[in-house]
Symmetry: C2
Subunit: 340 residues, 2 copies
């Protein structure tokens, strides 16, 4: 089985975006959108997925994708907590419907109603609601809800601890994933996403978070940002900061996905990072939607890179399925209940 | 010959730091430091370099290092333009003295008196002074003088054009290099440096700067941040932004250094980036000063990685020497005047 642990609903039906536009316009005095959220039919959901994510999953042999709201549209910087709260609820409910419509293909992951400067206890209600109502298997946490101004404390700060406690309580791993950048210095998917991954790794390296939360599992997407390419730098910095080797300090708790869109990058990841810390992902349909003219294949068809890499069968199986099930126990139970 | 295009004076004699401390304290009402700068003897300079950079250069077979003020101490965020102006002048003058004391070993590169929000025309006087008085061969430009708050416009913005015009006039390449981070989210050398490199590449990709300045040569240090590891992502983003292939869009003007502190990272760089766009560097003595217990060698002994890589003799020669001379014409003239 191939499990893609990183997909977003980038093709959501138009009423979702229209609702959000109205919500944002209401911040400037416009009419408030419908409190119950956008009206979207099951047919619209199917039409948004079948020619897109589901088609590509079939073409590439991906069985299941962990599916969360569109990352760049989380936009936690917009409005206040109430804004994020309503937006998160509607986005997460839509993801829940996707997982109900296609229980064999999508497993739900939630966004959180973060808002810059707001205590993180504020997101717990929505997290618990998504556990109860949608049986989510993972959560996305934005380390920079300001949208590129980086005003939040590092991930190792107590500010985040209430979220970590709940994640552990519900056996949920957390993907560290920023949203859109409103800072003109940072292109959202070309700079801000990768910078956030690198930043998160270094924050975790500087701190001792997993001494406090040994059961917490964190996923650093986009192949870990710059970290694997600069693994020697990070190992050396760990020594200079009097930290243990990265394998002991971080790699019992952090995992990298395979959203690296060319063979040499994937090969670096596989050479540097222990295979038990790597989970298959594509972020399809995401940042890069074109075909590489050099290969004739989609840049984000990361199945091909893993298949082409020099890997033992055991490592390939771990990357495609086993580690995803181990790190996402709620996904594993969901699959087992389906006889898979 | 081996030319290291990226070294900072991280071991400068103590009076330099003491002068800076006094300068910063004066911002809070303390006594102003000596207007003429710190008093540092030639002996102090020699003692700071011979057991450190010069010893390591000899051990590693590095002939010449392009030497600039300590990057993390540029701290352009501190004080105002006058603060940066005085600090830059004294740092650059010290670099000039190093290059006079060891003309065979060090070639000077300057920092600029940047200050957040100040027009870039303000740095021209110091740039021209360093050309006239020290015959500098390169310049470091900080894309984020705010120190991790990223308040400046992208490098493609007209804001920076006055600097570019002067760089071209004086045949100076520019290394894009941030300084210390005052944002607790970003570790200076583990996150901020790498993020800045990635950010710069993406800013340049988004824009068309080299259509305006085809003679401008930019060096992205630290192996280009995350860019080579994510080369497929950047190629795909270029397509989505309707830009030419990276080789045409960027690689006539940007260069990556080899400050990547492990063999797999260097191998990725060499596999992905055309060899004519890579210049040898170590940033020694810099961010990572320890030995890798796995190899018994210093992480930043990047000569070893280049020697061990599968490279043609022509590529190795280009990376170690030829491209550095071509991109730094003032260095080339300096070396030729020495009969090298």
């Amino acid at each position: 089985m191939i499990i893609d642990i990183h997909g977003h609903y980038t093709t959501a039906p138009e009423p979702l975006g229209a609702w959000r536009q109205q919500q944002l316009a209401a911040l400037d005095g416009g009419q408030a959108p419908a409190k119950d959220g956008p009206v979207i039919t099951d047919d619209q959901i199917c039409e948004s997925l079948e020619p897109n994510q589901l088609r590509l999953m079939d073409e590439r042999g991906v069985d299941v994708q962990i599916f969360s709201p569109r990352a760049s549209f989380m936009a936690h910087h917009a409005g206040d907590f109430e804004t994020s709260s309503a937006w998160s609820r509607h986005c997460n409910d839509l993801i829940g419907r996707v997982a109900e419509l296609y229980p064999q293909r999508f497993a739900p992951s939630a966004m959180l109603p973060q808002s810059p400067g707001v205590e993180t206890t504020s997101v717990i209600d929505e997290l618990e609601r998504c556990v109860a109502e949608h049986d989510i298997v993972a959560v996305n946490l934005n380390p920079d809800p300001s949208g590129g101004n980086w005003t939040s404390p590092p991930l190792t700060d107590q500010y985040w601890f209430p979220v970590y406690e709940k994640l552990i309580e519900y056996e949920l791993p957390v993907m560290v994933h920023v949203s859109t950048s409103i800072n003109p210095a940072f292109h959202t998917t070309g700079a801000h996403y990768l910078n956030a991954d690198t930043t998160a790794v270094m924050q975790l390296l500087q701190g001792d978070l997993f001494a406090t939360f040994p059961q917490l599992n964190m996923i650093i997407p986009h192949g870990g940002g710059a970290a694997p390419y600069h693994w020697g730098r990070f190992r050396g910095l760990a020594m200079m900061l009097d930290k243990p080797e990265l394998e002991d300090h971080l790699l019992n708790n952090i995992y990298f996905d395979t959203c690296v869109y060319h063979q040499p990058g994937i090969d670096t990841l596989l050479e540097v990072v222990p295979h038990r810390n790597i989970m298959f992902a594509s972020e399809m349909i995401g940042a890069v939607r074109t075909q590489d003219p050099n290969t004739g294949h989609y840049f984000d068809d990361t199945v091909r890179y893993i298949q082409a890499a020099e890997l033992s069968q055991a490592s390939r199986q771990a990357i495609f399925e086993d580690t995803a099930r181990a790190v996402h126990p709620r996904l594993d139970r969901r699959l087992k209940a389906q006889g898979r």
